[in-house]
């Protein structure tokens, strides 16, 4: 499958971002379908017990909306997600489909029941006896939860696989470390999302005491669910491996993402309480949409965090983020990848291997990066010389961000880096020491806090010593490239390192 390259749709969005958008929408719809089932069942039971006809007639409308979101939007977005994932990461998709075929099929069986029961549920409000109707509602919720249970087992495997070997121990793979914490967190999240969805729909209902009573009840449900979500999330975090959690320090935006998710959770819950309990007169469709938007975004950010904890893998230990087979990468050696990647052979020897460079970028980098859009590479590559750019590509596993290894040889590394540098807007090298540090050292090191810090290595060293040390970088460890920058850059960097190590002013 190394022969295939997914052509990026647009140059400023990496393929992974496309998946993120579609999956956020799909996950929101599918979780609403689960939690919505529980709320419908409970509210119908209450309405029948209390003889509340107004609630029953509202539930009839709510169930139709749920059916539409689950059946139409849920299935279409799920289909999009499935197809995009298969195109962007054929190997990872193959791994997940082939190894978990029967689990997918079992989840599908419950999806059939879920769809059948919601269709019956919506179409029998006026014809089925109340007891039977309620049982259909319960059947819908149970099948939705079981569907979630099976899919959650597969998804959690991607981050916390038991042990990658062939044939896979399916039992251990499915009941992996984060399987139960995942289902716990997702179940409460689905109730939380559903209560916010219903609160939003309720905002369109005429202003009357029923509306306020139901809004208060739904907001209570959302608050209870939200208090229980952290239990699942914390358990999930405890079960996630230390190596994966290290990504919080290695992926620059990950901490911010998690913090934003937390903030959105808090804003969402405060708004819900504010609108439905404290100031019901302000509870209108527009204002009711705000907590929902917060919830969907928070949920999306959580999913995004979960995805990036896997880096540099798509399936931990089996498939890299750029769809390379982990085991094969170990065995490639010189020329192994080249002989497998049909596109390199077909690209021929065009003017200086430009096409090869472009195709290598599409295959190896484009799944996560763009040149100058999201997750851009030009910040570093536009200010460095070709030799350094090529070394960065070749030694990709040593950089701070979790990256897959570069599978090909030196020639391919040069072609790929040449493609990146030629596509980026070329800028003159930095003059300030701090900026030179950012470009030359920053990809792999932090200065005094964070990842592979350098401050202690330069403690007590003068500018001349630092200058000499920079000149012999290649001999320090195998992972360090030789210094290939200009003398001016070297002097500026030496001055920065020496002053910084003494706690002096940074230049």
């Amino acid at each position: 499958m190394n022969s295939t390259i997914f052509p990026p749709f647009v140059s400023f969005i990496p393929a992974s971002a496309l998946i993120a958008v579609v999956s956020t929408l799909h996950v929101a719809a599918s979780h609403f379908a689960v939690g919505g089932g529980l709320l419908l069942y409970l509210e119908e039971r209450r309405a029948l017990k209390e003889g509340d006809t107004e609630l029953l007639s509202w539930l009839k409308i709510a169930s139709k909306i749920l059916m539409y979101i689950f059946m139409v939007f849920g299935t279409s977005s799920g289909m999009a997600l499935w197809l995009i994932a298969g195109m962007i990461s054929p190997l990872a998709a193959t791994y997940m489909v082939v190894n978990f075929t029967w689990i997918w099929m079992t989840a599908w069986a419950f999806l059939v029941l879920q769809a059948s029961s919601i269709l019956f549920y919506v179409s029998t409000w006026d014809s089925a006896p109340p007891k039977l109707h309620r049982r259909i509602g319960l059947l819908y919720f149970s099948s939705a939860l079981l569907n979630l249970f099976f899919i959650n087992g597969i998804l959690s495997f991607q981050l916390t696989p038991s042990k990658i070997r062939e044939p896979l121990n399916l039992f251990k793979a499915f009941f992996n470390h984060t399987s139960f914490p995942g289902i716990l967190a997702r179940s409460f999240m689905s109730v939380w999302l559903a209560s916010l969805f219903f609160l939003f729909f309720l905002a369109f209902y005429k202003d009357c005491p029923f509306r306020i009573t139901l809004a208060k009840r739904l907001s209570r449900v959302s608050i209870y669910a939200l208090f229980l979500i952290p239990a699942g999330v914390v358990w999930y975090g405890v079960q996630t491996s230390k190596a994966s959690l290290e990504n919080f320090g290695r992926v620059p935006y990950l901490q911010g993402l998690m913090f934003s998710a937390l903030l959105l959770f808090l804003v969402g819950i405060s708004l819900t309480f504010f609108l439905s309990v404290l100031f019901p007169q302000l509870y209108r469709p527009l204002s009711a949409s705000l907590p929902l938007v917060c919830a969907v975004l928070a949920f999306g950010f959580c999913e995004w965090t979960r995805e990036d904890l896997r880096l540099p893998y798509l399936v931990k230990g089996a498939v890299y983020a750029n769809d390379l087979d982990v085991r094969r990468c170990r065995d490639y050696g010189e020329g192994g990848f080249k002989s497998e990647a049909g596109f390199l052979r077909l690209a021929g020897e065009d003017g200086g291997g430009k096409l090869k460079g472009r195709l290598l970028f599409a295959k190896l980098c484009a799944p996560c990066h763009t040149i100058s859009g999201i997750n851009r590479l030009d910040r570093v590559f536009s200010r460095v010389d070709d030799e350094f750019a090529s070394a960065l590509v070749r030694k990709s596993t040593f950089v701070k961000a979790p990256m897959p290894p570069f599978p090909a040889g030196d020639d391919e590394a040069r072609l790929l880096s040449a493609h990146i540098t030629s596509s980026a807007k070329r800028l003159p090298p930095h003059e300030k020491g701090k900026d030179v540090f950012g470009v030359r050292c920053g990809p792999c090191h932090d200065w005094d806090r964070g990842y592979r810090t350098l401050k202690s290595d330069f403690r007590g060293k003068g500018e001349k010593e630092a200058f000499d040390m920079i000149g012999s970088l290649g001999s320090i460890t195998e992972s360090m490239p030789d210094w290939s920058g200009s003398e001016e850059e070297r002097r500026a960097l030496a001055s920065y390192l020496s002053a910084g190590s003494k706690g002096g002013q940074e230049k």
Binding site: I5, V72, M79, T101, M105, A128
Partner: protein, 358 residues
């Protein structure tokens, strides 16, 4: 070419299950696509009888669509398992074009729900909405046909997908995708015509005039669309690479026998429909035509599988893939699916009896 991972069951089991679910999917897909096309035609004709049947059909179409999608998922999973290298390579080759599938599904599904729920409110907009739904559904079917055509032709082409051009260029796949699509589209109109006809028979006692008109109209659509789809079927066979004629004319005993049986049953279904259309008691003829058509759909699924295997032979052989049977997981699936079927049937019976009781 080989599957990079061990298959979870013997290829034969995966293939057989895929055929069973695909047959159900195809039947429902024919009813959805053809049904929407017929509703559209009836809406443009705008006479009372046409509108009556169009409304009744439109109310049922979202249900058909729901189960078409559901029963399309299972063969998709199974065929991705069985044909993973060729399937995903073809998907990459099609790239952005494949995204028309969820887009078309979303549009058509929304319109079908809208028509079903707001039939009376929509007025004249109905026919145009219905046309959009036919176009969207047609796009979905066309893209899937093209995906299959690309899969089957991987042997002939160099499989390196070169960036963007592969997804959008005019390639030989279209030569097969166009007759293939026309064949499916016309067949779906035929199947839906038969649905209208059989429904007409069921109405004969309650509404004799509407019932009579309906079975005649349905049978007419069935007959004409069947004749046209047979013609496009031969066109499709003639442009298939890898000499499929050889396979169905003695190259493979099973394929040849199946092709002959299917040709006879299609011709017989057509004859029975024509007899039914002109008979005073059409029930017998049209029901036989319906049974033969269902048999034909199932047979076509198997035939398609055989042709694909023939065309991929020597390049990717599903039967030669290594497998390790995940019997426990398979058993869980069988048990869960049986339980689900039981619950679905039980629900159906309970709801029906409660409706009768009312």
């Amino acid at each position: 070419m080989n599957s990079p991972y061990l298959l979870p069951a013997a290829p034969f089991l995966l293939s057989a299950l895929s055929c069973v679910f695909l047959a159900v999917h195809m039947l429902l897909m024919n009813l959805t696509l053809g049904g929407t096309a017929l509703v559209s035609i009836y809406l443009f004709k705008s006479k009372e009888k046409h509108l009556t049947v169009a409304e009744a059909m439109a109310r049922r179409l979202p249900y058909f669509m729901a189960f078409t999608i559901l029963f399309g998922m299972a063969p998709m999973i199974l065929s991705q398992t069985l044909y993973s290298p060729v399937h995903f390579t073809s998907a990459v080759y099609l790239s952005g074009t494949l995204l028309l599938v969820p887009a078309g599904t979303l549009v058509s599904y929304t319109i079908l729900f809208l028509l079903s729920e707001k039939w009376n409110v929509l007025g004249k907009a109905r026919k145009y909405l219905c046309l959009i739904a036919v176009f969207s559904l047609g796009t979905v079917v066309f893209v899937f046909n093209r995906l299959s055509a690309v899969m089957e032709n991987l042997k002939e082409r160099d499989i390196a997908a070169f960036g963007v051009p592969g997804g959008y260029s005019i390639s030989p796949d279209y030569l097969q995708a166009i007759p293939r699509f026309l064949f499916f589209f016309l067949a779906s109109v035929a199947v839906s015509g038969l649905w209208v006809a059989v429904w007409g028979i069921m109405k004969l006692n309650r509404e004799p005039e509407q019932g009579r008109w309906q079975y005649r109209s349905g049978a007419t659509w069935f007959s004409s669309a069947t004749i046209l789809s047979m013609a496009t079927g031969f066109w499709w066979l003639s442009v298939m690479p890898g000499d499929p004629f050889k396979m169905i004319s003695g190259g493979s005993v099973f394929a040849t026998t199946l092709f002959i049986v299917l040709s006879i049953s299609a011709a017989a279904a057509l004859a029975f429909a024509l007899l039914g259309m002109n008979s005073i008691k059409p029930s017998f003829f049209l029901r036989i035509a319906a049974a033969l058509t269902i048999f034909n759909i199932a047979g076509m699924v198997v035939m398609r599988d055989l042709l694909r295997l023939g065309k991929l032979s020597g390049f990717y052989e599903p039967a030669a893939q290594r497998s390790s049977f995940q019997w426990a997981a398979f058993l869980i699936f069988v048990l869960c699916f049986a339980t689900v079927l039981f619950f679905c049937l039980d629900l159906f019976n309970r709801v029906r009896s409660s409706r009768k009781a009312r």
